[in-house]
Amino acid sequence: MNRRKPKSNNSIEELNLRYVDEFKAVSVSPSLKENLARVKELAKENSDFVIREFQLEDSVAAFMFYVDGLASGSQVDFALKEIMILEGGLSQLSAIQEHVLAVSQMSNADNYGDMLIGVLGGDTALFVEGNTKVCLLGMRGPHTRGVSEPELETVVRGPREGFIENIRVNTSLLRRKLKTPYLKMKPMIVGKQSNTNVVITYMEGIVDANLVTEVVERIEKIDIDAILETGYIEEFIQDHAYSPFPQVQYTERPDTVAAALLEGRVAIMVDGTPIALIVPVTFWSLMQANEDYFERYQLATLIRWMRYIFLIIALFGSAAYIAVSTYHQSLLPTSLLLSIASSREMVPFPVVVEALILEISFEALREAGVRLPKAIGQAVSILGGLVVGTAAVEAGIVSAPMVIVVAGAGIASFTIPRYNASIAVRMLRFPLMILASIFGIYGILIGLVLLFGHLVNLRSFGIPYLSPTNPLSIPDLKDVAWRAPWWMQKDRPSFMPLMDTRRMGDHLADEIAEHGGQSGKDIDHKQPEKGD
């Protein structure tokens, strides 16, 4: 990267630099004229670059350089005023910084690379004649939008705030959840052209330090022009690139990230997207919604079991229908077999073709619903429900039981709380359907064996994907087989390598476990007798 020797008198064009990173080789010249020429060269054909030349009191030349829209105009004006009314003698940048500028965030850069990263991130650069440093004033502009309720993960009970596109707001949202200096936020810059700010955040004292190093190293290796979304990073850092299963969890909820950090995981936040990544992830954690932990545990447990059942339906529902209705008619109750037969009487296609037609049109409807504007989306659902659901059955193109099975499997796939996990399930049911149509239930079993073989092989940042069930860790089943009440979850998951495994103190948890709750019998509820 730093192959080129710093050649201060060359112009930028001659240096032939392509990435901002390479500008680090160009140091700030003591001559303001030279600096100005370079900055002007950078600002060529850039309408949003602002260069403001001015002079300090004793005719020391200086200029400010910022990007319009990123820096806050009014703050820049205010700082400019402070410098311009400077009472002479202070031509040293350090002196200006110390005595004049009423700006809280300030840093120095001695090369063009750091300067550009700052300026393009919203800072204002202050060049003063005779200094080999440039002052970066952190007067960043207004945020893009306010914090709003996340649309992807809605809850009945729980916080309504979600991440936004500004990483600084996102880190502050997280910091509000965990007010401790041990919540660490490690900054990184990824993407040669985008120079995207990436923050790796974790709880020091809980997280395994090796995991943090591993995450940092994997991200450092990424050599790409731009990171426009977390998906770019996800595909680079996951353990098994060809697997359909997500090995990274994503969320737009600060509370989900905070909970993950407290379990000793690491979150990766990326500027410009409201999505944060969480690693490592297990298959079962993709079956958990954040609201499970906010609602009463009995309800959460029931919902979780329901999700497991629906997972099976989503994966095997259509395949099982195909297998049973074309190979194993003996398995059905007679009356059901007859009613399937009577509804299929007019259908010209074999069951598998019928199933594929419906599944594909269902996926098409879903995709159309996501991409279209909300107002038109409703029309799609009406059309889909009417045309595919009713008309196709009446026209005898598909049979009613098939519609029920496909719709049931479709709805079942939506009960999986993580969208990326439900995509994996939806994709995998197509090969299973093909297998079922060729080999019957035997084919489904082959598919199941292959699927399990793949799942037990998967790892996410070294953690087996199916933990805690494979390898079995019985104490950790409290958060998989059911959602244990909080006072039973004294320990953090033991399949994660952690520095601190205790989540809570023993005293209250034991008391609740022993008495079935905190007893209120010591409280005297009697009203004090009124004296006449």
Binding site: Q329, L337, A341, R344, E345, S399
Partner: protein
């Protein structure tokens, strides 16, 4: 090494060829046989099948809901094969729940017909066999009102709570054991009273066919059929009507046997085999035409005695009929072989049927009517008019 791996791979892949899309049959290419019948015609069997007709959903027009056809053959499968030649859809027998065998066939033996049932995997041993009075195919052809298929109707009847549960597996087991004979539900076609629409005929349970080995020798009806409930492994409820002497007249009272326990113990004392049957029964009054108030213990005692006598009589009737024909529907031989395996092997198993007729039975019944119903006396009793 490479050879071995490829061999293992080949072996692992070869079961894939056991099944495949060539086995695929769409639901609409199937003729689902729900019941079949066996009749005798000359030297050959006449096999009838009942197949529900599948019509498109929402299709208009009322037609027959099922279809019955029959064909002759030296074996059951030959007849079925001949039938298949006139059917555009492939018959499957895995949904056959009812096999109706005519009395005529049963008298000659059901063993040949049962071979077909167990040989093919798509037959279910949980299916029910029914012996028909008269032609078996007439039972299939009956048109019961409640169910659209007569097969379904027969199945529901044999599954009623007061019918002894007997399926093909039980029959096969009884046939395989020395010292056990099957009993099979016995049904007939009857017309509802008064006659409703034309050709509407119902099937009805008459009793249980009595078998000697695989040959039908008689039918347990009425009292004997009730008695059969006590000598099977599980008690099945039934209803009985007693006549109780009250003054000069006999008045009827109907009792449901709610719960019962029977213990049959074979005993060999001084080389003489006898069976001790100990029965405990709990009854519930369903209807009483007695004038006495049932609340009083002495009235209850009278009923209890009559109830006990009734049970005893029914068991005796059953045992008597079984002995007469030298049959063993109560699995007496099996019980003996369990209690006295050595004696069974040496003395009894060889000529069990000859001994059967002479075995004395000691029947001890303890019965009580515990549920009297919401009222204990007739609400329209004459004394109420005061």
């Amino acid at each position: 090494m490479y050879k071995r791996v490829s061999l293992i791979f080949f072996l692992l892949c070869s079961p894939m060829l056991l099944t495949g899309c060539w086995d695929r049959v769409e639901v609409n290419d199937l003729a689902v046989v729900v019941a079949s019948s066996f009749d005798k015609e000359g030297d050959e069997y006449r096999v009838g099948v009942q197949i529900p007709l599948v019509r498109p959903l929402g299709g208009k027009g009322q037609g027959p809901v099922f279809y019955i056809d029959s064909e002759k053959g030296k074996t059951v499968r030959e007849a079925v094969d001949r039938l298949q030649h006139r059917m555009s859809r492939q018959m499957i027998f895995s949904h056959r729940r009812i096999l109706v065998v005519s009395e005529e066939v049963a008298r000659e033996g059901i063993r040949p017909g049962l071979d077909e049932v167990a040989r093919l995997p798509d037959n279910r041993l949980t299916a029910n066999m029914i012996i028909s009075k008269g032609k078996a195919i007439d039972l299939l052809g009956s048109s019961p009102q409640f169910e659209s298929l007569s097969a379904e109707s027969m199945r529901e009847i044999v599954k009623l709570p007061f019918v002894l549960p007997v399926n093909l597996k039980d029959i096969a087991q009884a046939l395989n054991k020395e010292g056990a004979d099957p009993i099979v539900p016995y049904m007939e076609v009857t017309e509802p009273q008064p006659k409703g629409e034309e050709n509407k005929k119902e099937v009805q349970l008459v009793g249980y066919a009595q078998f000697k080995r695989d040959k039908l020798v008689g039918v347990f009806k009425d009292k004997a059929a009730d008695g059969s409930h006590w000598l099977r492994s599980h008690f099945v409820t039934y209803m009985t009507t007693l006549e109780v002497q009250e003054g000069n007249t006999k008045r009827p009272i109907t009792i449901r046997v709610m719960d019962g326990q029977s213990k049959i113990t074979p005993r060999i004392e001084n080389g003489i085999l006898s069976y001790h049957v100990k029965v405990e029964a709990i009854g519930a009054v369903q209807e009483s035409m007695l004038t006495e108030d049932l609340r009083f213990q002495r009235n209850q005692d009278v009923i209890n005695r009559a109830f006990e006598k009734d049970i005893k009589e029914s068991i005796e009737a059953f045992v008597k009929q079984a002995k007469e024909k030298q049959t063993d529907p109560a699995y007496l031989g099996v019980l003996l072989s369990r209690a006295y395996p050595k004696e069974w092997k040496e003395n009894y198993s060889k000529h069990w049927r000859d001994t059967l007729g002479e075995i004395p039975f000691h029947i001890e019944v303890k019965a009580s009517v515990e549920r009297l119903g919401q009222i204990t006396e007739n609400i329209t009793k004459e004394t109420n008019r005061d």
